[in-house]
């Protein structure tokens, strides 16, 4: 059932910009239109392209913020989240903890 919901109305997670929009709802309580506009502005794309694989694949690869397919040497996990926090200008608790461990 969750997969059916994801396919019917989800943004697409790491395939597109779903995680980025989710971070804005979580960290700034933004409602969906505001969150999508914020992320689209940060990425320099139209809102409709947030769920467009053809656009978001290249953007994610260029910005190195985590890809759905495995490419050795590209960022993954906490490193991707650190870059996402910088891109969106938000604070992510796990990233803050990770940074503290590096100091």
């Amino acid at each position: 059932m969750p997969i059916a919901h994801v396919m019917a109305s989800g943004i697409g997670g790491m395939r597109t910009a779903g995680d980025l929009v989710a971070w804005m709802q979580m960290s700034k309580k933004m409602r969906i239109n505001e969150a999508k506009q914020y992320v689209a502005d940060k990425l320099g794309i139209a809102v409709i392209d947030l769920a467009n694989e053809e656009v978001m694949r290249e953007i994610r690869e260029d910005l190195d913020i985590g890809l759905i397919t495995a490419i050795a040497g590209k960022v993954k996990g906490i490193a991707a989240k650190k870059r996402i926090a910088d891109l969106l200008e938000i604070t992510i608790p796990s990233v803050e903890m990770f940074k503290a461990k590096l100091n």
Partner: protein, 355 residues
């Protein structure tokens, strides 16, 4: 068959209903919600839109491009490893691997970790293990990861817990004793919730999901809201979801209040105000399903409540769209035709910010 629409009942049974009966059920469902919640019914345009979604001849429907929303869940990844009582698949894999699969294969917008014994009370004893599991997984995930659990105040009453059972006290006519018992259980629950969240905060937890809040009634919801407030005071950067257990707050206590507002009997469009006030980041309304009514009736009813809630909300609302809530039939293997129609209707008519 011309003049008929293939749809379902609230228990998932497939039925073929005349088109005028489907429309009549939609109207009856929205009017029922409007009367119960004292909220506006769907407009005639929205009724037409909902009818078109339900009558769509395709088995699976979806939102239009540009209307996509954020998916949160109460254990979507965990379904890979849980067993039948939770609708799980029982695959022999770890929870972290399930989360990675859910993130990478299912492409969810957020992921979720929770323990098999999904309440704060049992969690307290093993929270160091859970914190470790969360920490390990969070190093490898890119999408936001919530830790979820149920407040489940009922576990603190005899025979499962230390507090006298209010149901027995009610039966004995001891109303005050029953209220006191709920207040006492609430204090145990508060201690457990805050202990668990503190431990998770120390490993960089990205979000907490209070799942099925208010399942033991208004006294439980009051403590959940006070916990949200306390968590936000200690750790303002901790995102919090409060998802409800039902469409209105059960008055098991009857006098429980939050910031001077009586909780018992609140419907979603009223709940969202106090939930925002506590500091919650995302609210999950849950609208009950009537198995004896048709899917069109149930979906119209649920969308009416969600639309009214969305209209007054200042935070994202993610309606709970699991089995038996918000129009999804009460059937273990939820029919995909209904699941996708609920998703589309909740977003495009209900104006949900996520599911």
């Amino acid at each position: 068959m011309s003049g008929y629409i293939l749809t379902r009942m609230g228990d998932g049974e497939r039925v073929s209903l005349p088109t005028d009966e489907v429309r009549a059920d939609i109207i009856a469902g929205t009017e029922e919600a409007a009367a119960k919640g004292n909220i506006p019914p769907l407009t005639s345009e929205e009724i037409d839109e909902l009818y078109d979604i339900i009558a769509d001849k395709n088995r699976i429907v979806s939102v239009e491009p540009g209307n996509e929303v954020v998916m949160t869940d109460d254990g979507g990844a965990m379904l890979l490893v849980l067993d039948q009582p939770d609708g799980g698949l029982g695959l022999s894999m770890g929870r972290a691997e399930a989360i990675y699969a859910y993130e990478r294969i299912c492409c969810a917008d957020t992921v979720h970790l929770g323990h098999f014994d999904y309440s704060f009370k049992p969690l307290k004893a093993i929270i160091s293990l859970e914190a470790n599991e969360y920490y390990n997984a969070s190093l490898m995930t890119t999408t936001p990861m919530f830790y979820g659990s149920q407040p489940n105040m009922g576990l603190y009453f005899t025979p499962d817990g230390p507090v006298r059972n209010p149901t027995e006290l009610f039966q004995a006519g001891d109303i005050k004793g029953a209220q006191d018992a709920q207040d006492e259980a609430g204090e145990y629950m508060r201690e457990d919730i805050l202990h668990v969240v503190k431990q998770l905060s120390e490993v960089g937890c990205e979000g907490i999901n209070f799942d099925t809040a208010g399942s033991s009634g208004d006294a439980e919801l009051r403590v959940v809201l006070e916990c949200v407030e306390e968590i936000k005071r200690i750790n303002p950067g901790m995102p919090i979801i409060v998802g409800m257990s039902g469409e209105f707050v059960l008055g098991m206590h009857g006098a429980a209040e939050y910031k001077g507002k009586k909780l018992a009997g609140m419907y979603p469009h009223e709940q969202v105000g106090i939930i925002e006030e506590a500091g919650t980041d995302i609210y999950g309304p849950a609208i009950n399903v009537n198995c004896s009514k048709s899917f069109p009736w149930n979906l119209a009813r649920a969308v009416t409540f969600v639309k009214a809630t969305s209209a007054v909300a200042n935070i994202p609302i993610h309606p709970n769209v699991g089995m038996g809530v918000c129009g999804i039939p009460m059937f273990e293997q939820t029919p995909i035709d209904c699941v996708t129609r609920v998703a589309k209707a909740m977003v495009e008519i209900g104006k949900a910010d996520g599911l």
